[in-house]
Symmetry: C2
């Protein structure tokens, strides 16, 4: 489904948008607070119900999308039906950084929960960038963040056990949500199904179930009603094995 078929063009005030709290994607802040700029004039919202494609790898999309609300996944699909999730997109994340520079996202993006995105015309975003040192430094920050995430993913998939991968995934999500002020008393919204965890960690849903059940039995965490609570963060981090700490948000 092409992005333009998804309600793109419908203006919205995005009242539930958490942008103001984000430190992760400051480019978005940068772009959206430019008063009266071209970007402001043309921005609109894209709403996608849960479990739907936001864009396909081969789509031709002339917009840059920023996730305002809900969770999504960026992934690669294989011929045999296997899928590998490359990253979970949280509020404030850019949806495929490729769209900053080209029309093809080169990855699938799928909504997990109901999702809304801000839509900018690429020309306008790039126009903002030209000659702006601040914007270039924001871009480089996004680049370096993605690089770090990709490196961690490769280490997890290549060198860690199932338990370690799952613990790392959950803690990574907690940490990213914490930066956005979306953690309340150790509890987060958790729209993921076990098959999402499986697709992200290179495991099967059956094995994910076994590991998570064991984590619960050991009192490390609890998952109820689409909420996740980490009960014993220390133990979970011990399982996850210390990765070098995140250099920046």
């Amino acid at each position: 489904m092409h992005a333009a078929e998804n309600g793109l063009g419908r203006p919205s005030s995005c009242s539930q948008c958490v942008m103001a709290k984000l430190s992760a994607c400051t480019l978005h802040r940068f772009a959206s607070r430019e008063p009266g700029s071209a970007v402001d004039e043309r921005q609109s919202m894209l709403h996608v119900p849960r479990r739907r494609l936001v864009c396909r790898a081969q789509d031709s999309v002339e917009s840059v999308l920023f996730l305002c609300d809900g969770w999504a996944a960026s992934l690669r699909a294989l011929a045999n039906g296997d899928r590998q999730i490359l990253s979970f997109l949280l509020p404030g994340d850019i949806v495929s950084s490729a769209l900053l520079f080209q029309s093809k996202p080169n990855i699938l993006v799928e909504s997990i929960s109901d999702v809304s995105c801000r839509v900018f015309a690429r020309q306008d975003v790039l126009g903002l960038l030209t000659g702006s040192d601040e914007a270039i430094s924001q871009l480089s920050r996004i680049w370096m963040d993605e690089r770090e995430q990709a490196a961690r993913l490769a280490v997890d998939l290549g060198r860690r056990t199932a338990e370690e991968r799952i613990a790392n995934l959950l803690l990574g999500l907690m940490d990213r949500l914490a930066l956005r002020g979306l953690v309340r008393e150790g509890v987060i919204d958790f729209p993921l199904r076990q098959h999402h965890v499986a697709d992200a960690t290179g495991l099967t849903p059956v094995h994910v179930s076994k590991v998570l059940t064991d984590f619960k039995r050991r009192g490390l965490l609890q998952i109820n009603d689409r909420f996740l609570q980490v009960l014993d963060e220390t133990a979970l981090r011990r399982i996850a094995q210390a990765q070098p700490p995140v250099p920046a948000g």
Copy 2:
């Protein structure tokens, strides 16, 4: 070992440099052909013997390095001694794109064969970029290339068997070398040890040996004297499973 301890500052004409043939890293071309620019004045060469660190994740490096000759690996090392190679660096590649924007490479870079790099002061490279549309588009190309490689790596590590991973690795190297004109009649220089293949594919050296031996037995390829020849590319690509083809060089 800090880059500056490695012979940095020694000027060199880099006669064996294959830059002229590169299409992959055109930023480098772009930077180095600016006649009489500040970059030209201050560029120098870094030579590192094989099997040595080029830079460490926590080093503070104020230069941008481009690999001119030889092979290197960028990798993460774990506390238990495991290693995950994130990518092999071939002539023309930038050594840690992070150094374009910051002092910390955030990855280990290790030479595989004897290696020589061009050294640019970061300030000068960034100076070239300011206000140059061409340079920004070269940067975005590097970004998108790295993104594509990272996605392929994650798919390999998360969703493919040992045979598939190894076939994919070898074919990926062949393809990248082909773009640089470094393949002659299906034969390439192949300085990798089996433990490099293991570190790149998330396998053990023992298992790599078994798979490679089997590939040879089946007449798919041949490795002699640090040269690799692919004898049955069709079969090897069938094993590797079609990935979406590379969009650009």
